[in-house]
Structures are given as C-alpha cells and as structure tokens.
C-alpha cells in the first residue's frame, strides 16, 4: 500500500536516511524502531510531506505522492507533543481538519461526535487543551487525525510523553482503535517494548539504514545481526577464545560445537537470559558453573546476575519468584546448543 523506494535524505553532509526502501501493507500496524538519531523520525516526516527527500519516491496506492504537500496528502501525523491548538476547545480541535475539507456543517458535527464517542471523549467537548490530562490530550490528538479518515496514520513516539501506567492503558487503546478503524498505522518509537507489543511488523533502523524487518516474534527470536541482537530485548554475549575443529571455545576453554553447515567466523555467541536454564533440556546441553552476585527483584520473574569463568562480562539470567537463590553461592546452569546464536 505504501511503498518507500530508495529514499535518501541528507542534512548538510550528514545522511539522515540512506537509500531506504520498504513496503507497508494495507491495514498494518507498522513500527519504525531504532535508537535516537537513526533517521526514523526523518522518514516519518518524509512520508507525511514535511521533508522532501533528496532522492527516491513514495507511492501510496500506486500513486507517487513524493511531491504532495502535507495539506493534500491523505496521511495524518500525530505529533509527539500532540500539538493541539491551544485556542480551540476539544470539539473545534477535532473539527478543524474537516472544516478544511469544506464539508457541510451538519456532516462535520456528525463525524466529530461519532469520533468523540469512539475515543471516549464524551463530556470533554468544551474543554481547552490545558484543561486535559496527558491521556485525554493524546486521545484528542488521535481523534483529530482519525476523523479525517486518512489512508495512513503516522504516529511519532505516541506513548513517550505518558507515565508508565497510562502507557499500558493507551497501548491497548491504540491497538483497539487501529483494529476498529482498519487504518494503516506507522509508528516511530525508540522503545522496543512498545514496538513489539503493538506492531504487526517492526523495522529496526540504525544510522539511516534498514537493519531488519519482521514480525515482533521474528525480530526477537531471530535477530539477524549483532546490532539487532543487542538492541532488541536482553542478550548475553560470550567472546570466543578460539575456533578449532568446528568448535567455539569460551574464555575458560569449554566449548560448544558449531553447526555443521557453518561458514562464518563468529566473534561471539549470544544467548537470551530465558534460554539459560537451571535444568538440562537434553543430554547435549552445554553446562557451566557460575556464582550468583546479584538478584534484581521484579516480582513474578527476577533477574539474576552471574559471574562465570566462561565470560568476562556478567551473565544475566531469569528465575521464577518461587526459586530460591542465595547470593554468593555457586550454581550449575544449562543451555541447549541450538539456543546459541552466532555473531
């Protein structure tokens, strides 16, 4: 539905986006995820028409919209700061976009009221933005875009300005609204939890490049390279001491065997904390010893920091609240061979 074709955007001599291409499907909740300064917001501004790319094209339903000004694009952008009009009340804020389409007053009234119902803003019509809470402001900002029935709704860090509890609530609301309206959502975020929880597909970006695209599950369980592995979720990395006879040796000279078809020369192996177990899954599991140095309490599942001879860095594992671990005691840990990833 939206095709981004080899977009390049430079600021001065700095590349904000380098030869970036991506296809986004109709009705999809798509997330652009990356550290700050990776070009994700610039890409969003290129799609919404606020930045003109130096090269490349953007197609929306096969139509080239690269040179469309923001006010005629069938896309709407929800700003990170919400950017509500301070001198308009909630009703007028929402009606503004429809008034620009020169619709009949009665239709504007009908559509604004409809969206006010759907976004739970009843009773707040006469309030001004400075009389609203953070969550209410966000709903007004959303309603103001959705009432225009855009083909694509762009969201710039939609949850960043909210506190933790409200964030969880708004996550659900966003997802419900997206399903209900069936509009394509493209969200920019630096927060991987948001991206993984909300999006149908996630694009991981770094330094203006697309690193990996996939469903949250694919991205999490199959990070293509070191950057994604490090950026998404938590991952322990073990440096190699040597590779010999198809085996990868850790710092203490214990080893795991590399897959038979392996052709790369990995610098390190990575393993998710939840893949380091207290019990062996099978006979071929890699076994190592470590000392518990810290336990970080989270409630249901706690994080445990382990020091071990196999790695210079501390190792992070997870343990269920019912499991008792004592500080400064040695424990034996098991990792299935196939849960190691090579980088």
């Amino acid at each position: 539905m939206i095709e981004v074709k080899s977009i390049t955007k430079k600021f001065g001599s700095l590349f904000a986006i380098k030869d970036f291409s991506i296809d986004i499907n109709h009705g999809e909740f798509f997330a652009l995820l990356g550290p700050s300064g990776c070009g994700k917001t610039t890409l969003l501004r290129v799609i919404s028409g606020f930045e003109t790319p130096d090269s490349g094209d953007i197609f929306l339903d096969k139509e080239n919209i690269t040179n469309f000004k923001p006010f005629i694009r069938p896309t709407n952008l929800m700003f990170q700061s919400y950017a509500l009009f301070p001198h308009f009340n909630v009703f007028k804020n929402i009606a503004y976009g429809l008034e620009r389409e020169k619709l009949k007053k009665s239709e504007i009234f009908f559509r604004v009221n409809e969206i006010i119902n759907k976004t739970n803003l009843n009773g707040l019509e006469q309030r001004y933005p400075d009389q609203l809470s953070g969550g209410q402001k966000q709903r007004v900002a959303l309603a103001r875009c959705l009432v225009k029935k855009p083909k694509v709704l762009l969201l710039d860090e939609p949850l960043t300005a909210l506190d933790k509890n409200l964030k969880e609530k708004m996550k659900l609301e966003l997802k419900n609204l997206q399903k209900q309206f069936g509009i394509t959502f493209i969200m920019v975020t630096h927060d991987q939890d948001e991206a993984l929880a909300l999006a149908d597909r996630v694009a991981v970006m770094n330094e203006g490049n697309l690193i990996q695209v996939g469903s949250p599950k694919e991205i999490y369980s199959n990070p293509e390279n070191f950057f994604v592995a490090e950026f998404i979720g938590k991952m322990n990395f073990f440096q190699k001491s040597k590779i010999e006879g198809g085996n990868f040796y850790f710092q203490d000279n214990s080893f795991i065997s590399l897959p038979k078809n392996n052709t790369q020369n990995p610098q390190c192996v990575g393993i998710r904390p939840e893949d380091i177990l207290f019990k062996a899954k099978d006979d071929s599991s890699y076994v190592f010893e470590g000392k518990v140095v810290d336990i970080i309490y989270h409630g249901q599942e706690n994080e445990v920091i382990i020091n071990s001879a196999i790695s210079e860095d501390s190792i992070l594992i997870r343990c269920h609240k019912d499991q008792t671990l004592n500080l400064n005691t040695n424990i034996t840990l098991y990792c299935a061979q196939q849960s190691f990833r090579l980088y």
């Binding site: 006010f71 001198h87 620009r100």
Partner: protein, 253 residues
C-alpha cells in the same frame, strides 16, 4: 528594613509625578504657592487650538507608525522564530532598540537630506517605524516561546494551507503579543521627542505634542502643561496596563 528601602525607592520614582499631578489642580498657577483646588487649567487646555492640533499630529504619527511597525515587527518575529535565524540577523534587528535616540535622529535626518526627502509627518512616521518594529518584534517573539510550534505543522497536516494556517492558528495564538507590542509601540511613539524633533522639518504644521510642550516650557512650566502631562500619564498608564495583560494572555486566550 527592606520595606523602608522599597518605599524610599518608590517615593524617589513617583513623588515628581505626583507633584506634577497635584500642581495641575493648583488655582494659583505658580509652582511655589498653593492657591486652592481648581480644574480650570483643564478647560484652558481644551480651548487651546495649538495643543489640539499637536495632539492630532501625535495621534496620526503614533497610529500609522504603530500599524506599519505592528505588521513588519510581527512578520520579522515569525521569520526569526519559525525559520532558521542567525545571531547577526538577531543583533541587527535589535540595534534600533539600543542605539541612542540622538544618534538615530541625526542619522535619519542625514539620510532623508541625502535622498532630498521632504520632511513632515510622514518622515516622522517612517522614523518611528524604525525603532517601533524592533520593539514589536521583541514582544511578539516572547509570545512565540509560549506555544508548541508543531501546531503550525499540525494545521498543514490537517489540510490548512499557509494563509488559512496563519489566520486560524498562528495569528490567534500570537495575537496577545501583537497587541501588547503594538500598544508599547504606540506609547513610545506618542511621547517620542528627539527623533520627531529632528525629522519633522521646518514648518509648525507637523509639530507633535512633545515638541509643543518643549516649546511651551521655554517660557516656564505652566499649569496648562501640568494638566496636559497628567492626561498623558493617565493615557500611558492605561495602555501599559492593557499591554501587560495582553502579554500574559489574559486579554483573549
């Protein structure tokens, strides 16, 4: 102790003004003796055709210089706040605020003479526009710090083209600043003497109120002048009060 200092400073600032107001009601007409309460000087004031003409001139100058400076200053402030500005533009824009009036008066006069420009009310208006633009710009810019500039892009995004966005979004939000800046410009222009004196030309037809007061004062301070000054103080006070409220945004938003 602090309160005593404060009252001393306020006395220093306001006793001369209070003296002037009191003397404007002095029947005797002499600053040295109190001859009883009277408002006769105010009646004399209204009968004085010269004063009336000067007042009219002053209002014309203040009105037109404020209108032009209001427009230019607002546009300048918008450009500086919304487009990429640099420190040289900023410094240049504020020079008319800090340059001594006498220097500006002389330079404007030499400039007009060089162009062989006829002097009169119009040249005073142009001269006042120069410094008023800087003051309006400074006040409007403070208003730009008050709101999220993304609202302008939000308006474009929702289908508002440039003119509509300016009329419906930007202007209403900065309007308190525009009003406050214009009122400030009006008062500055209203009692400006040096620049008006230099750029008014030879004839008496373009005499403004401050110039008239100056010429009258050469024959001593008359109670009539006191009465006139009281009016001007009252008028300035009202305008400053309104403009202060406008800056705080209480006027419209």
């Amino acid at each position: 102790m602090k309160k005593i200092y404060l009252s001393l400073i306020f006395c220093f600032l306001y006793i001369p003004i209070l003296t002037l107001i009191t003397l404007s009601f002095n029947k005797s007409g002499l600053p040295t003796s109190w001859g009883g309460f009277s408002i006769s000087w105010y009646f004399d004031l209204f009968d004085n055709q010269k004063i009336f003409k000067a007042l009219l001139n002053t209002i014309i100058v203040a009105f037109f210089s404020t209108a032009i400076a209001g427009l230019l200053g607002t546009l300048l402030a918008m450009g500086m706040e919304l487009k990429k500005s640099n420190k040289y533009v900023e410094a240049t824009a504020f020079i008319p605020m800090i340059i001594p009036d006498i220097v500006m008066a002389i330079s404007l006069l030499s400039f007009f003479t060089l162009l062989q420009f006829t002097l009169g009310l119009h040249s005073i208006i142009i001269s006042h526009v120069v410094f008023n633009t800087a003051f309006v710009c400074a006040v409007v810019r403070t208003r730009f710090k008050y709101f999220d500039h993304n609202v302008i892009e939000a308006s474009y995004d929702l289908g508002g083209k440039h003119v509509i966005t300016f009329i419906k979004i930007t202007l209403p939000i900065i309007l308190p600043g525009v009003i406050a800046g214009s009122l400030l410009a009006f008062t500055l222009s209203f009692d400006e003497f040096i620049i008006a004196f230099f750029t008014s030309g030879a004839g008496s037809s373009s005499t403004t109120l401050p110039m008239l007061i100056y010429s009258m004062i050469r024959f001593g301070v008359t109670p009539e002048i006191n009465a006139l000054s009281t009016f001007i103080i009252l008028f300035s006070f009202i305008i400053v009060f309104i403009s202060q409220r406008a800056v705080k945004g209480k006027l419209l938003i």
